[in-house]
Symmetry: C2
């Protein structure tokens, strides 16, 4: 593939930025990649492993002269970073982000974008529970979706270039409205994470079952929950603070349905339970048919292995 | 390893029985293995793939002359099967089961066990979301726990033989009281499954997000939930009907904690969220250190692959 942006700047050097750097290199999509992270420690690690061509000591230095700047920091840090880089953005450049919430990021970042610079929010639907500069891998986005959220005044050519970059990194690209994005993600990602965190917390709090028992006997199901609940606390705090309305709506529906199942258990209504459990199976089938997961015992994850 | 039981009879020929047959063969633990399943279809499949040495057309025929009979049917079917085989059980034989709930199974099965026959309930903490005679694999129990629930009058030598069988099939063996077992499993398995079923049901019900969107954009987290929620409806209906008290207790605690997190989101209390999410991470660490899962991106599942 050929170079899409001469210079790409990644602000934040964790799982997502690291994977982007490796995926861009794999396909030769960027002439030069610069990077910046808040802590000297992360910057040193990034230098040590050669994550970018150049690691800078300020966001502005990294963003200077870039054709594409991607904000890869937690959602709550987007505004501060946008403010830092605004003065150096060159006309015609594109600013994007990878935040897991879109409406509040747009509200926080847009006011800082100078005239003549394109702001095109994005969100790759791919991740693991790991974080930091060493956690990235080039295959993270392969066959996953990246959702672009163009703004009403977005330049079509700029959107197309960004879409080409994500396709070049292995992703399928879709476009969506910010509010719809936030609702879909509240269902498919944010609320499930909150629930997993809660269940793991309950297990830990139960005095009559010791921690070591919880750990020793954690069967399938719970093990998956603990993995989800091991995700980065800062990232997830910011997600819930910033996708408040949609998450609260889905949580309301969730507790409503859970109470109905709870009543069925209390009343011994086996038919209700059986029908409910039969119904949810079909959704799994759909996900496998859509190629988003596999039926194999390793659930297709070997493919995403670091190497 | 050497033969522990001359003749083992498996009643029910699904994931667990199938995996037991393969694991017993792998280590040469049984002289002959007989099997029975309710439907002619399952029995034919079992014959076709050579799952046991002999597939019988009634539970009594399969259990006749057996030194060990293992009930591998859904929890709600245990009593009927126990009644069927009771007349043919030979003195000195052991009856065991693999049900996911122990108190109600003991209450249902014990009255049917003749004098001179040992009843030693068990539960291997291993499974997948697949079921049926083709879903078993020899490695399912490797490095997992099998919990034995000996009764007050259990013969020590009989318990030791059953423990040796499970160790021979790759499992670590522990003993536990029935009520404690049911509480521990309500935390580590039953409630997580109910929650996963519920979340998948909510996703399916939400009119403003289409099914195809849920499927297409199902990110990590939700994908795991759909896998859990694809488990066998009969098995799980029986689990909840039979582990009612413990499940309802854990569900009560779960909703209490969930409401606290929900309020933190509503009030924008980022510190509460951050602290909660940080705390749950430690449990994951413990599970990895205990060797129950791995930190690798394929989560150790490749090991459990069918071959
Ligand atoms: N992980 C996922 O599953 C996933 C999936 C899709 C999208 N996302 C989104 O992608 C973004 C990054 O996530 P990630 O998983 O890559 O996170 P990560 O691995 O934790 O990396 C975050 C990076 O942001 C930097 N950073 C944090 N706070 C900052 C601040 N106030 N100013 C400047 N830099 C700061 C960190 O620097 P230090 O190391 O120096 O602290 C680190 O380099 C988030 O918005 C998240 O919502 C995540
Ligand atoms: N799956 C897990 O994750 C897991 C883990 C640990 C323990 N367990 C426990 O293990 C037991 C079996 O589970 P499994 O996963 O192996 O189930 P499975 O794959 O669905 O197999 C169940 C077997 O039981 C037979 N059966 C069902 N109802 C019966 C009845 N009324 N009379 C006689 N046979 C009947 C079925 O026969 P047909 O095929 O002819 O219907 C089938 O052969 C359950 O008690 C479950 O709680 C399951």
């Amino acid at each position: 593939m050929s170079v899409i942006y001469k210079r790409v700047s990644l602000i934040g050097l964790g799982l997502i930025a690291g994977s982007m750097a490796l995926a861009m290199r794999r396909a030769g999509l960027a002439g030069e990649i610069t990077g910046y992270a808040r802590s000297a420690e992360t910057r040193d690690t990034a230098r040590e492993i050669g994550l970018c061509d150049r690691i800078c000591d300020s966001a502005a230095e990294a963003a200077k002269d870039a054709d594409l700047v991607v904000l890869c920091v937690p959602v709550g840090a987007m505004e501060a970073v946008a403010r830092d880089i605004a003065p150096v953005l060159k006309p015609g450049a594109t600013v994007s982000d990878v935040g897991s919430v879109k409406r509040t990021v747009i509200e926080a970042v847009s006011p800082h974008i100078p005239d003549g610079v394109h702001f095109i929010p994005a969100h790759p639907l791919a991740g693991t529970e790991h974080s930091g500069p060493r956690s990235g891998f080039a295959e993270l986005f392969d066959n996953r979706f990246c959702i672009l959220v163009p703004q009403p005044d977005s330049d079509r050519a700029a959107v197309d270039s960004l879409a080409a970059l994500w396709r070049g990194m292995g992703a399928n690209v879709d476009e969506m409205d910010a509010d719809h994005h936030d609702l879909v993600l509240a269902v498919t990602s944010h609320t499930p994470h909150l629930i997993a965190y809660t269940m793991v917390g309950v297990a830990d709090d139960l005095r009559r079952v010791t921690d070591s028992e919880v750990i020793k006997y954690s069967a399938a199901g719970f093990r998956d929950f603990t993995r989800i609940a091991a995700s980065d606390p800062t990232m997830w705090r910011d997600v819930f603070l910033n996708n408040k309305d949609a998450t609260l709506e889905i949580l309301g529906r969730f507790t409503e349905e859970l109470f109905a199942l709870q009543r069925a258990i209390r009343q011994g209504d086996g038919d209700h339970l059986f029908d409910y459990f039969t119904h949810t199976r079909a959704i799994r089938r759909g996900i496998i048919d859509a190629g988003q997961d596999t039926d194999a015992p390793d659930f297709g994850r070997a493919k995403a292995q670091k190497g």
